[in-house]
Amino acid sequence: MNKAILSILGRDRPGIVASVSRALTDLNCNIENVSQTMLQREFAGIFIVSTPREMTADDLHREMDSSLSPLGLHVYTKPCEGGEDDCVAQGAEPFVITTKGPDRKGLVAGISEVIARHGVNITNLQAVFKGGADPGDNIMIYEVDVPAAVDQQILANELRAKAESLHMEISIQHRNIFEAINRI
């Protein structure tokens, strides 16, 4: 059994997941994981599927593209290497980094550069930039895994300095506080 990963992009409307999954079923593929999201009016979905042994990723791409491009959906496909969680650092602590500040170019680039330099993995990122100077309209929320070997104090100080240079407020908090307050 082979695995492939597909990402599907297109203008959002009812029926996209149904069309994709129907096409996969017709090709005798089994869906293992799906995640979909919407940004503004655009749909993005990621599907990890197991494919019949004789089918290559190129075959899959060709078939899916011919089914989905008439519907205005773009398909990207690549073979999926096995193994799970191989990039998750051992003993990492989950933190949430939140920024607020007036919109300008380079905000995500600035913050994510510091995060990357410390070998910290971003596990989820949500960012909304409505533009303008109201800090509440321009928010980034990074969920990250900070490896045990990283000095949290140095990371926090560098993030604060970067945020200040970008005129943003920043909070760096262990994820447990959000769990404790919001979830039973």
Binding site: Q152, I177, I181
Partner: protein, 457 residues
């Protein structure tokens, strides 16, 4: 995955609504430091506290930073000094207080509680020495807090001790006359004192407690007020039942923060986690006031008709939400109404909305009692004792904790301002109506028996 709303609402609570952990209090058992030699006792006390509390403040600050929640106060509560120093004279106990003050400064805690005696049923030699030492001890130190339990529901009220406390309060005020009687802000007289209060000035480590324990006091009046205001903006017709539900949910969130941080401090120090005290504790800052919650609920000010009912609702909702959030609840657990420490309450006194009688009435439905109440300097010892006795009666009969922290401000009269500084705040002096003249009733002394409902076995 967390939702955007969960993250933003939590940040709002911290940044704009003063969500914090009001105090993490390290309880330290000093009973085995007792002995007849004052030098030895002081040495052992210093060694014990330094060995347990050396990194305490730094650790709390580090954990506060990790979660982005400030741990505002770090404090220590010790075994009642009347027991530890039972063999010592009042003069030597004043020296012990100075030792506690020095060691508190050394480990950077802002208060150390436990200069305390439990005398609800009678006074032993150590208790008498300790009470005699209180005025000097509190005026010669900055950080030491004293408390005396003079009544319980099981034992009744020790009016002899109440009379002695009237004298003690008066003398403590006199010794700090140049600072508006600030020594009295560190002295509580209790009925039914809990053994695990993390809040000052009543914190001490009970006789039934372990070697060391971490107790946490949560805060959150600002968070509750904002939640009420938001809900009423969305639905102006909201009824009291729904408001109670809302406060309950908010108290749950606030308590979870305290529990999380307290447990982590305890784990890092390898000390057992004790309790979360679910009290709404105000500070003299705008937006961090219990008094403001009354206004959000629709009362003109704390003190006007409806106040007692509103406080009953608030106190009940805080307890219910908190009890669900924490596995171990203790201490006082209720809303605090310390007059000078809460800007809004102190303004209600200034504007004439809140008088001593109404304050006493509302203490029947909340925790603590006549807390941080500035009285005229000419209030007599007898009148002070009578006010204390009234407050103790409310606690004893209602099977709850009550306390007084009264400050007869030397040289000042009703309507004048008293300034205590820092967290202790400032307040308009409240008049004591019908307080002048003799009070032969209280002078009789003796014991007021326990109420019939104390016979529960």
């Amino acid at each position: 995955m967390l939702t955007c709303r969960e993250i933003i609402s939590t940040l709002e609570m911290v940044k704009n609504e003063n969500l914090d952990v009001r105090t993490v209090t390290l309880g330290i058992n000093l009973l085995d430091c007792a002995g007849p030699d004052p030098g030895d006792v002081r040495h052992r006390i210093t060694e014990r506290i330094l060995s347990l509390a050396g990194d305490f403040v730094q650790l709390c600050d580090g954990i506060g930073q990790k979660y982005g929640i400030p741990v505002v106060n770090k404090r220590i509560a010790v075994s009642p000094m009347a027991v530890v120093g039972a063999a010592l004279s009042p003069e030597h106990l004043v020296d012990v207080a100075k030792t506690l003050d020095d060691v508190a400064r050394e480990v950077h805690v802002d208060f150390i509680g436990g200069f305390s005696a439990l005398v609800e049923k009678g006074m032993a030699r150590g208790d008498r020495s300790l009470i005699a030492a209180i005025p000097e001890a509190l005026s010669a130190t900055e950080r030491v807090c004293a408390s005396v339990n003079v009544a319980t529901t099981r034992a009744g009220i020790n009016v002899d001790a109440v009379l002695l406390m009237g004298k003690t309060v008066k003398r403590a005020a006199r010794l700090t006359a140049d600072r508006d009687g600030v020594a009295c802000t560190k002295l509580c007289v209790f009925a039914n004192i809990p053994e695990d209060i993390p809040f000052m000035a009543g914190a001490y480590l009970g006789i039934g407690e372990a070697d060391a324990v971490i107790n946490v006091g949560v805060s959150g009046p600002g968070v509750v007020k904002k939640a009420v205001e938001r809900a009423l903006a969305a639905d102006p017709a909201m009824d009291l039942g729904s408001l109670s539900e809302l406060i309950k949910k908010t108290a749950y969130k606030v308590t979870r923060v305290g529990e999380l941080i307290g447990r982590e401090v305890a784990q890092k120090l390898k000390i057992r986690f004790g309790v979360v005290d679910l009290s709404l504790a105000p500070t003299p800052n705008v937006g961090d006031s219990v008094g403001e919650i009354f206004q959000s609920l629709g009362l003109r000010a704390i003190g006007v008709p409806g106040t007692t009912a509103a406080l009953a609702l608030l106190n009940d909702a805080v307890k219910k939400g908190g009890a669900f959030a924490s596995s171990r609840v203790g201490g006082l657990s209720g809303a605090f109404i310390p007059v000078s420490e809460d800007l809004n309450i102190s303004e209600a006194v200034r504007d004439g909305h809140l008088c001593l009688e109404k304050l006493e009435a509302i203490t029947s439905v909340c925790s603590v009692g006549l807390d941080m109440v500035a009285l005229p300097g000419d209030t007599t010892e007898e009148t002070l004792s009578a006010i204390i006795a009234d407050e103790m009666a409310i606690g004893v009969v209602n099977n709850k904790t009550t306390a007084t922290r009264l400050i007869p401000v030397p040289g000042k009269g009703p309507g004048e301002k008293a300034y205590f500084g820092g967290l202790m705040g400032h307040s308009t002096i409240i008049s004591v109506n019908n307080g002048s003249g003799d009070n032969p009733f209280i002078r009789r002394g003796g014991l007021v028996p326990a109420p019939i409902h104390s016979l529960r076995n």
